[in-house]
């Protein structure tokens, strides 16, 4: 709507300039100026805090009897597009760093999922991330995380949850997710 409004405003200003020329007695009594404005499809994404990067530190709770570790962290992200087809967000994972004795089983015990947030446009998680995927199965080259079908503001949550048995071991797991939004 904003784009349409600006197009109308541009047309009105053009007409006003043409009328002024007529009042000044310019010999041309009629002018035609075809005006065309193309608003490109664009999309943007920021965290709900307005940042381009966020840290998700999970503080686990360890069961005193089973030593199972649980915990989660989430971050809301705001996406916006002017495309009438909406936008899609892809996610890709950096390398996973295991330190302090952590083993691959501990990384596999981290689940990554997506849920719709508080935006005016619904963000629909992909099936994989609606159900949740283990950290090590997140693509390192990018895959669909969620998408919208309309222009406007959507919000989605990136959730990372830990549910590790004692046998998964202890230590530190770290990685980086990169999310890219593109207008459809």
């Amino acid at each position: 709507m904003i784009a349409n409004f600006r197009l109308i405003r541009l047309s009105l200003m053009t007409a006003l300039i043409a009328a002024t020329f007529q009042r000044a007695g310019i010999c041309a009594t009629s002018v035609t100026d075809p005006v065309s404005v193309t608003v490109p499809k664009v999309a943007s994404i920021l965290s709900s805090n307005g940042n381009v990067s966020e840290n998700l530190a999970i503080t686990p709770t360890v069961s005193s009897s089973t030593l199972a570790s649980t915990g989660s962290a989430s971050q809301a992200w705001d996406m916006r597009t002017n495309s009438t087809s909406g936008a899609t967000v892809t996610i890709q994972r950096g390398s996973v760093t295991l330190t302090g004795g952590a083993v691959a089983a501990l990384a596999n015990s981290l689940s990554v999922s997506c849920s719709n947030g508080a935006g005016t446009v619904t963000c629909t998680p992909s099936a994989k991330y609606s159900a949740g995927a283990s950290l090590t199965t997140v693509s390192t080259i990018g895959e669909t995380f969620c998408s919208t079908g309309l222009p406007g503001d959507g919000q989605f949550n990136l959730i990372v949850a830990l549910n590790a048995a004692a046998s998964a071991g202890s230590g530190t797991v770290a990685t980086t997710f990169t999310m890219i939004v593109a207008a459809l």
């Binding site: 030593l67 570790s69 083993v103 981290l110 046998s167 230590g171 797991v173």
Partner: protein, 181 residues
């Protein structure tokens, strides 16, 4: 003059063009850094889930020699999330001997540790068995586990006391402590 008018219009269009672009932020890539640290832990409970078990040894007396024999077994589950495993130590309180039993009976009560599940390995001293008197008051290794997970071990108390040891009561408390490696 007409040329001049077109120039104004074109400039107007150029001024207007960036405005729709400015409506959307150019930030199309964001990053989330994830970090989780699970601390090392270890836990030890009996197979019934208790942290304290009473090991009263039932005694059988041989009719001919009056030798007293008997044993009591308690199963313990050790769990750790440490990739290096865990170690269990055992320590003994002072032993009380009453009702006429002689101190010799302390040497005839044995404590033994055996693996019954998981990657538990008893310390050699307790694999073969140690007399109650020889258990350190300030703690010593009982068994260890080599990797994360749950293991099970048995602590067996046994008595084989000749008649010369006398009769009476022997009481002590054995405390086992587990630590992640």
């Amino acid at each position: 003059m007409l040329t001049s008018g077109y120039r104004h219009l074109i400039m107007l269009a150029l001024v207007m063009m960036p405005m729709p672009l400015a409506w959307a932020s150019p930030n199309t890539v964001v990053q989330a850094r994830v970090n989780v640290t699970v601390p090392k832990n270890a836990a030890l409970v009996s197979s019934s889930g208790a942290s304290v078990e009473n090991a009263a040894i039932p005694i059988s007396i041989d009719n001919a020699t009056l030798e007293a024999t008997g044993q009591k077994n308690t199963r313990w589950n050790v769990t750790t999330n440490s990739s290096s495993g865990a170690r269990v130590t055992i320590e003994r309180t002072s032993v009380s001997v009453s009702k006429g039993a002689s101190d010799a009976i302390l040497n005839d009560i044995h404590v033994r540790c055996s693996a019954s599940g998981g990657s538990v390995t008893p310390i050699s001293k307790f694999s073969s068995g140690s007399s109650l008197n020889n258990i350190a008051l300030n703690g010593e290794g009982l068994c260890s586990m080599a990797k994360a997970g749950t293991g099970t071990f048995d602590v067996t108390l046994s008595v084989r006391a000749p008649a010369t040891d006398g009769n009476g009561n022997v009481n002590a408390t054995l405390t086992m402590v587990v630590a992640a490696l």
